[in-house]
Subunit: 204 residues, 2 copies
C-alpha cells in the first residue's frame, strides 16, 4: 500500500495518526507538496480522480481518497485496537461524533485558515476576508461546544478513545496556524489533549 | 423509532429516501419547523445535544444525529437492499463517493442557499454575499465534475445504485431553490436523474 500524504495538512494527519495508533506498518508514504500544486498535476489527478490528499493506493492499483473512507478500509483490515465501533449502534454513534468533529470544528477552521493565512494564499484563487471571519466565528463556537462535551465525557465519543478524538485533535491543532489555541481557553480541552499526547500516534 | 425530520431540508431527505428505498416502515416521523427555530428549542437541543435535523430516537431513548450516521445504523438493521457496500473495499469506496457528493456538492450548495436565499435569512445571523458567491462557484464546478463522472459511470459510486446517489440527488435538487438546474446544463446528470426517478424513494 502507498499513502499519498501532505505533512502539514490536517486530513492526511488524521490517517497517519489512525495508522500509527493501530501500529499499521509496511505502508510506503509519498509526500505531495500542495504548495507547489503537486496534487493538481496529472500524475496525481489522473490516478485519484481528484486533487485531494490523503489518497491510498493498494498493491492491485485500486485507490481510495477521503480520509474517513481510508480509515474505514484500514479498520476492516486491522480491527484492533478498535477505533470505529463494535456493533451497529456504536459504529453509528462514533460516526456521528467523528462527523461532528469534522463538520462543526474542522470545516470552519479550514475556511478560516485557507482564507486568512498568508501561507495558503497560493492554494486559494482568492482569499475572502468574510469567509475567514465566518470560519473564525464557527471555530470558536465549536471549540466552546466541544469543551462542554469534554467536561462531561473523557473522550469525544464517550468513555473510550476513537477516531472522533483523532479528528478533533487534528482540527484544533490546525487552528494553531491562525493563533487559536483552544486548550488555552478551555481547560477541559487541555486535559483531553494531555490524555491523547500520551497515546500512540500523538507523540512529538 | 422516531425520526425528527424537516420536510424541505436536504439532509433529512437523504434519510427519508434511504428508508423508503429499503422499505423501512413503522418509524414515526416528527416534523421540526426550522424556520420557526424549533430545532433550537430545549425540547430538541436537550434531547439531541445539537440543533440539527435529521435526528433519530430509538425506542430505548438512545439518539443519533448526522444523516450518514443514521443511515449506517439503518443499513446494519436492514441490510437489503444493500446501499453502503458489502466488503471492506466496497464499503470504503462507497463512503468515499458519498463524502464527495456531500463535501464537494452539497456543502457549497448549502453555503449558496443559506447566504443567498431570502427564505433562509432567518436561519443565518447574517447572509454574506461573498459566501454565497463562493458557494455558487463551488456548486457549478462540482456539478460539472459529477457530470463527467456520470458520463463514464451509470451511478455515482459505480455500476449500482448506492447511498452516494441519494446524497448527490438531494444536493442537486436543493440547488433548484437558487435556480440552478444541473440537469438542464449536463445531459449525463439528466439521464442519471431519470434513472433514479423510477426507483423507490424518488417518486413525486
Amino acid at each position: 500500500m502507498r499513502l499519498y500524504d501532505t505533512h502539514m495538512a490536517p486530513n492526511p494527519r488524521r490517517v497517519r495518526i489512525f495508522m500509527d495508533h493501530k501500529g499499521i506498518g509496511g505502508v510506503e508514504v509519498v509526500q505531495v507538496d500542495i504548495n507547489r500544486g503537486e496534487h493538481r498535476l496529472p500524475a496525481h489527478k489522473d490516478r485519484f480522480g481528484v486533487a485531494h490528499v490523503p489518497a491510498l493506493e493498494l498493491d492491485d492499483g485500486r485507490v481510495l481518497t477521503e480520509s474517513r473512507a481510508i480509515c474505514s478500509y484500514l479498520e476492516a483490515l486491522h480491527p484492533e485496537p478498535n477505533l470505529m465501533g463494535h456493533d451497529a449502534f456504536e459504529r453509528a454513534e462514533i460516526e456521528m461524533w467523528d462527523r461532528r468533529a469534522e463538520l462543526m470544528q474542522l470545516m470552519p477552521t479550514a475556511m478560516w485558515v485557507r482564507h486568512a493565512h498568508l501561507g495558503l494564499a497560493t492554494l486559494e484563487n482568492v482569499q475572502v476576508p468574510q469567509i475567514a471571519a465566518q470560519g473564525e466565528q464557527g471555530t470558536r463556537a465549536a471549540a466552546a461546544w466541544f469543551a462542554r462535551r469534554l467536561d462531561a465525557s473523557s473522550f469525544v465519543a464517550g468513555k473510550r478513545f476513537t477516531i472522533a478524538d483523532i479528528t478533533l485533535f487534528c482540527a484544533l491543532d490546525f487552528a494553531r496556524v491562525v493563533k487559536f489555541r483552544a486548550a488555552d481557553e478551555h481547560p477541559s480541552i487541555a486535559r483531553w489533549r494531555d490524555r491523547l499526547k500520551s497515546m500512540a500516534g500523538f507523540g512529538g
